[in-house]
Amino acid sequence: MPDSGAAVRLLGEGFSPAEEMATFTAAHPEAGGIVSFLGQVRAEPGAHAVEALELKHYAAMTLPGMEALAAATRKRWALDGLLIIHRYGVMRAGDPIVLVAAAARHRRDAFAAADFAMDHLKSQSWFWKREKTASGWRWIEPRPDDHRDRARW
C-alpha cells in the first residue's frame, strides 16, 4: 500500500531489524522522530529454556488483519509512515519475531502509534504460538495481560 505509507509484511523467513530500520528511516526524512518496537525470541538459560518457538498463521485472515490494524493506526495518529513486519514459522533464541516502526513529526504520535499497534498485534492478530522446551512442544494460551493491554486504548 504505497499510497497509505504503511508497509505490512508477513514473513516465513528471518529478517534483519537493523536493515529494515535503516531503510524505513531513510524513507522518512520529513519525520522528526521514529519509534520502533522489536520483539525477539528470548534467550533463557536453564531447564525452562525455549529451544524453539513456532508461530502459525492463517492465510485467509492473518495478513488482512495486520493490514486493517495498520490502517486503523494510521487513521488514529498523524504519521509519516508505519512499518509492521511479523514472522511466522519456526524461530530460535535471538531471532526477531516482530518489528513495528512509526515515523511522525511529533514524538508523542510515534510512541502512541507503535504502542497501540503492538498491543493489538499481540492480543488480536491471528497467530498461534507453541514453544519447544526439554519437555516437548506446548501451545501457548493467551495471558490476561493481553486483554488489559488492549483495553488501554
Partner: protein, 83 residues
C-alpha cells in the same frame, strides 16, 4: 477422492494437533451434519466456547447458523496466543 464439489474445514493452533490434520475436505451442507460425521472428541473441541469460526476469512457471530456451500472454507480459531 477429488475435492471438487467439496467444502473445507481448517483447524488452527492446538486444534490442528487434536484433529491430527490442518485441513479436512467435507461434503457441503449444514454444519451440524458435518460435525456429526467427525470424531466426537474433535467435534466437542471445535464447539468449545472459546473457539471462534470464520467463513471464507470473515469471522462469524456466536449463534449464526452455518451451511457450507461448495468451495467454502470454514476455519476453527482457538484463542490467539498473545504475548
Amino acid at each position: 477422492m477429488s475435492t471438487s464439489g467439496l467444502a473445507k474445514l481448517v483447524f488452527l493452533g492446538r486444534l490442528e494437533d487434536i484433529a491430527g490434520m490442518g485441513e479436512l475436505a467435507v461434503t457441503p451442507g449444514p454444519l451440524e451434519h458435518i460435525l456429526a460425521a467427525l470424531d466426537p472428541a474433535l467435534a466437542v473441541e471445535l464447539l468449545g466456547e472459546r473457539v471462534r469460526m470464520a467463513l471464507n476469512g470473515a469471522l462469524l457471530g456466536d449463534n449464526e447458523a452455518v451451511v457450507l456451500a461448495e468451495g467454502d472454507e470454514l476455519a476453527f480459531l482457538p484463542p490467539v496466543s498473545g504475548g
